[in-house]
């Protein structure tokens, strides 16, 4: 490219200068030359610059609506910022954090987030694994089963929670009615108890996400080379042994992936407990028995108007996520080693 550019100008004078009638020819050649120069410059600029142009929208939006607010949240967490008067800010140092650590409702929310996360994620992923295994058989109507199982995923948090709330009704709810039929004489007040309410909230999560995870596992199972099953069968492994010793180990990265995604989802849990709580749902029940960290943040910020405190909760959640990521990384390493 560079040799073209330097060679062209030296070539034109000794040719074009020979006869005056070549003036037009000379001008045309100059024009071509300029155009070619410009084009090659444009080409280089295009090849070098356009990758950045293509990725920049994502990063601009992310910087504006993701990264900057995250840092600004940290900044806010050192101030007293009230929703009622956004312009009156007062620096309070670590006060929001120390107050948070002394707040029993923060620890309560942390504990609830953990238990609800556990009782929603573990059964969900186990069931998804089993269902994926069944769907991996040669099956009539497999597309129907797949689509039907994914339907809850298309249902919104709001719609799903409203239906489940009605079904979990104490006196006339369908679930208590069904339990009565199998011998429970005593109606469970699903919203009032700690365990009962947390199970109810988890059941909504499980209902919405099991099908989604099933499909992810199914995809991973279909990528397992059939030879592995062949040799396992040859070694006399039963179906269950094949599942345990071939399928599950091969799915390890996928399982880890779903565990991470579900854990992140569980840390953020908000809509289900919020709506399940009915009016004043941000409290997560009369005794905060199913208040999650997300609800606690919302309550502090938008019910009690303490935006600075809400920021501190947000950062506590962020640290929690980093902790989970670290534990997860260690777990992944340990799994690889033990293999």
């Amino acid at each position: 490219m560079a040799s073209d550019l330097t060679a062209a100008p030296t070539a034109s004078p000794d040719k074009g200068g020979a006869a005056p009638r070549d003036h037009a020819e000379q001008a045309r050649r100059d024009r071509d030359e300029r155009r070619r120069k410009w084009r090659s410059r444009f080409y280089r600029w295009d090849v070098k610059g356009s990758p950045y142009a293509f990725v920049s929208p994502f990063f601009l939006f992310f910087a504006a609506f993701g990264l900057f607010p995250l840092i600004y949240t940290a900044w806010n967490s050192f101030y007293r910022v009230e929703l009622t008067n956004l312009d009156a800010r007062e620096f309070v140092g670590w006060h929001n954090y120390t107050r948070l650590l002394q707040d029993e409702f923060f620890w309560n929310a942390l504990k609830n987030t953990f238990t609800i996360g556990l009782i929603s994620t573990v059964p969900q992923l186990l069931m998804a694994l089993g269902l994926a295994h069944l769907l991996n058989y040669k099956l009539r109507g497999s597309t129907f089963f797949r689509v039907a199982m994914l339907v809850p995923y298309a249902t919104s948090v709001a719609a799903a929670t409203l239906v489940f709330t009605l079904m979990f009704g104490t006196d006339y709810g369908m679930i208590n009615w069904a339990l009565e039929h199998i011998g429970f004489s005593h109606h469970i007040d699903w919203r009032a108890g700690t365990w009962s309410s947390q199970i109810a909230v988890s059941s909504i999560v499980i209902w919405r996400w099991t099908g989604y995870n099933t499909l992810i596992y199914l995809a991973a199972m279909q990528a397992v080379p059939p030879d592995l099953y062949e040799s396992a069968a040859l070694d006399g492994a039963s179906r269950w042994q094949q599942f345990r010793h071939v399928t599950v180990p091969m799915l390890r990265p996928t399982i880890l992936f779903t565990v991470v995604v579900s854990t992140i989802g569980a840390t953020q849990l908000f809509g289900e407990p919020y709506l399940f709580g009915g009016t004043g749902g941000e409290k997560g029940g009369s005794a905060h028995q199913f208040q999650t960290l997300g609800l606690y943040l919302y309550e502090q910020g938008w019910t009690n108007y303490h935006l600075g405190r809400a920021s501190a909760i947000a950062w506590a959640m962020f640290l929690l996520l980093l902790l989970i990521a670290a534990v997860n990384g260690l777990l992944a390493r340990w799994l690889r080693k033990s293999q």
């Binding site: 990725v55 992310f62 689509v147 339907v151 298309a154 919104s156 239906v163 709506l275 959640m317």
Partner: protein, 289 residues
């Protein structure tokens, strides 16, 4: 594996390597789970067709009553659902367009173009997938309050206008679906990057764009946390409207169910039409993800 003599292996393949047929047990379990998946939705329709009085009786109703249209009408006016449905369509539609467009060009750059800091930037994209929206909610709220955007739809659209998952998804797809020679050939023919995107990348990426579009639409339609902070009852999305319907002082349960039905129906229609593709898309994203 290598120790198995080849003749023996061929004979075995016909038996053990064959995909197993599902037995009655498998069908039973799958049908049970399908029923559990579908039941709450069917029951929403049943409850929406009854009266609130009937819903507070045992046994609960298991078949449709005659009050569906009355309840739908009440939900429609009480929860401002005409505005809400339109708003949700605008919000989900804009987010879908933004996400698909920007994800495709960024995914293309990450999959096929060479530039400095590429690996680092890609790692950054993946890292942002881990950051939940709740962490930035306070400053975002302060912003929209300052800009007087509370109740305006752009307050909901802009923060989710691009998606890290989308970029990653398109990169994985284009990495293998788009032959590098095709881009080189277009370059030799003198096509600019914009022309390559338009005439080569978009046509190749179309199936993945469709899947990403549907996933994004479902996500944006169902998004809950941020809209409930950024919008109020005067200009709600469907999810915000449903919340207010349920949090009324004396919620009429049959009407609440009618609202839930109306809020879910558009997505269910999308699902009935494109369900197979959405399933395929999720599975595709999973294997490579």
């Amino acid at each position: 594996m290598a120790v198995i003599p080849s003749t023996r292996r061929v004979r075995v393949r016909s038996k053990a390597g064959k995909q197993l047929h599902a037995g009655p047990f498998a069908y039973g379990v799958l049908i049970l789970f399908t029923a559990i998946s579908l039941f709450p939705l069917i029951w929403t329709a049943i409850a929406a067709s009854r009266t609130s009085g009937r819903l507070s009786q045992t046994p609960p109703p298991f078949w449709f009553g005659g009050n569906l249209f009355k309840n739908l009408g009440t939900a429609w006016t009480d929860a401002n659902l005409s505005t809400a449905l339109l708003n949700s369509a605008v919000v989900a539609g804009s987010i879908t367009i933004g996400t698909v467009l920007f994800s495709t060009i960024a995914g293309f750059a990450f999959a096929k173009l060479r530039f400095r800091f590429k690996t680092f930037l890609l790692m950054l994209v993946i890292a942002t997938m881990m950051v939940p929206p709740q962490l930035s909610v306070v400053p975002l709220f302060l912003w929209i309050a300052k800009l007087d955007w509370t109740n305006h739809l752009q307050a909901v659209v802009l923060p989710t206008f691009v998606s890290a998952f989308g970029v990653f998804f398109m990169r994985q797809y284009l990495e293998q679906a788009l032959p590098t020679e095709l881009i080189e050939a277009a370059r030799v023919d003198g096509a600019s990057s914009m022309r390559i995107v338009w005439h080569v990348v978009f046509p190749v990426a179309r199936p993945a764009m469709a899947v990403l579009g549907m996933l994004t639409f479902v996500f944006a339609w169902n998004d809950f946390f941020w809209p409930i902070i950024a919008l109020t009852q005067e200009n709600p999305t469907v999810q915000v409207a449903l919340t207010s319907l349920a949090h009324g002082y004396v919620p009429d349960e049959a009407v609440v169910m009618a609202g839930a039905l109306l809020g879910t129906l558009p997505l269910l229609l999308v699902f009935i039409v494109f369900g197979k593709q959405i399933v395929g898309g999720i599975m595709q994203g999973a294997v490579k993800g």
